[in-house]
Amino acid sequence: METLNGTETLDCDMLGTRAVNRALRALPEGTGARVQAPRGRHNLAVGLPNPVAVTVDGNAGYFLGGLGGTKDAGGPDIVVNGFVGWSVGENLMGGSIRVRGGASQSAGASARGGLIVIEGDASLRAGISLKGGTLAIAGDAGAMTGFMAQAGTILIGGDAGHALGDSLYEAVIYVQGTIASLGADAVIEEMTDEDVLVVKRLVEESGFDHIEPDDLKRVASARQLYHFSTHNHGAY
């Protein structure tokens, strides 16, 4: 590994995944590193506790940046100059991940905190089981986005696929484009002033200036699946 303009450079052609991640973990707070030639490799920049700046130069594989940061103290700021495979930012706790391209399935799955920004489209099940994190998608989101999401925010600048927000708990989804269909117990609600404020802040953070904060659909839980209803007795 070598140091270039005060930023460490880690070449995936020379280093295994563990060596790359160990070097990233060892970075002192406030410093940064560039990861080069990722060539779709999995598990890069996973579990980084510190606020450091990591740039991944190319297309990455599964679980990029997962498990990073802490809920209270923030975490790493990761930028991917390319696209990512399944489960980017899975179980993210804090910090941010910005993907310049698209994301494959399950982006931000179970993220408890932090911000995940997808500048392209996201595939199926984006934000599945979200637990407090924030997911901003500039383009379209695939089917079953927000499936069983418990807490947190999902912003979709393009269109949403089928079964949006199926079995939602208390997470909220904002959609600018069309919704192919809503999932079980998901409903479209009126945007409140507070919603507009949340989106305004998120648009600023993500840089998605194609999104009009007061012209969105708010998708949330109708809370009809929270309790057993005797009406459904026959189904069991």
Binding site: R39, G40, N59, G85, A143
Partner: protein
């Protein structure tokens, strides 16, 4: 390419290549790829097949199999000879210019063992298997070639394959293994025989077969990709003016020439993508 995905399925691997043989003058020649789950005296087998394939037949021995080039008129005699004298040997695939190889073990080892890098061709399909539904043997490996030049590879698992197979067996279709993917391949082939085109036949597979699947289907001059409604299994496509490539993961495409300029996208569920040569 496939070596990058070794860890996805280390138990068996298979490769089919279209256009491995230079086009020669004279009557068209069929290529038959043979393999077996048992130890076979391939030299004796070759001699016995050349005995019945009277004129113009040619043998190529390699590793755990054998390739036979022969005029179409000799095919039934060869098939008859195999069925009666060599029941443990199966036809891995038949085509006008298709070569099929299957073996157990990692693709990296298979590619090295059979010097895949030296093979030529315009279309290639490679598969690495992590068996879930049936045994790990040569004949259970992908790709499946249920009819001439038709090649199917599958990632996933089908749940209603026994039912579909019973119907096919009733219709006289024969199977070489109890692999669920072979059922999808032979069902597809039966649809094509009914007169469907590749895209229609692929839609029938989607309709009739329950389960998880990403399928890549090739004929001599077409390639289709289809994923189940839930897109349970991954797929990524790279398109350039020079080629189209499909893989389970980008890692398999990362070393392709011009990949940086390629249009790379994830095929949507339940959409049949077809490319023609």
């Amino acid at each position: 390419m496939i070596e990058a995905l070794d860890e996805r399925g280390p138990d068996s691997s298979g490769i089919a290549v279209y256009g491995d043989r230079p086009v020669t003058e004279g009557p068209p020649v069929l290529r038959v790829s043979l393999g077996s789950d048992e130890a076979v005296d391939w030299l004796a087998l070759g001699c016995s097949l050349l005995d019945v394939a009277t004129s113009g037949a040619e043998l190529h021995r390699f590793g755990a199999g054998l390739v036979l080039d022969l005029p179409e008129t000799c095919l039934s005699a060869v098939e008859q000879q195999l069925a009666t004298e060599w029941p443990q040997v199966k036809v891995l695939g038949t085509g006008w210019n298709l070569r099929v190889l299957k073996d157990t073990g990692r693709p990296t080892d298979t590619c090295a063992r059979y010097a895949i890098r030296s093979w030529d061709g315009y279309l290639a399909v490679a598969h690495t298997r992590m068996a879930t539904e049936s045994a790990v043997t040569v004949l259970h490996s992908h790709p499946f070639v249920p009819s001439r030049d038709l090649c199917v590879v599958h990632n996933g698992s089908f749940s209603n394959y026994a039912t579909v197979r019973r119907h096919l067996v009733d219709d006289g279709v024969r199977f070489d293994s109890d692999n669920d993917s072979e059922v999808a391949a032979r069902y597809l082939s039966s649809r094509l025989q009914f007169g469907d085109d590749l895209e229609e036949a692929t839609r029938w597979v989607m309709k009739e077969m329950d389960g998880f699947f990403t399928l890549v289907i090739t004929s001599g001059d077409e390639m289709s990709v289809v994923r189940d409604a839930f897109a349970c299994k991954p797929a990524v496509v790279a398109e350039t003016p020079a080629y189209v490539a499909v893989a389970s993961e980008y890692r398999a495409l990362a070393e392709l020439p011009g990949i940086a300029e390629a249009t790379v996208f994830e095929p949507r569920p339940e959409e049949v993508y077809t490319w023609r040569r």
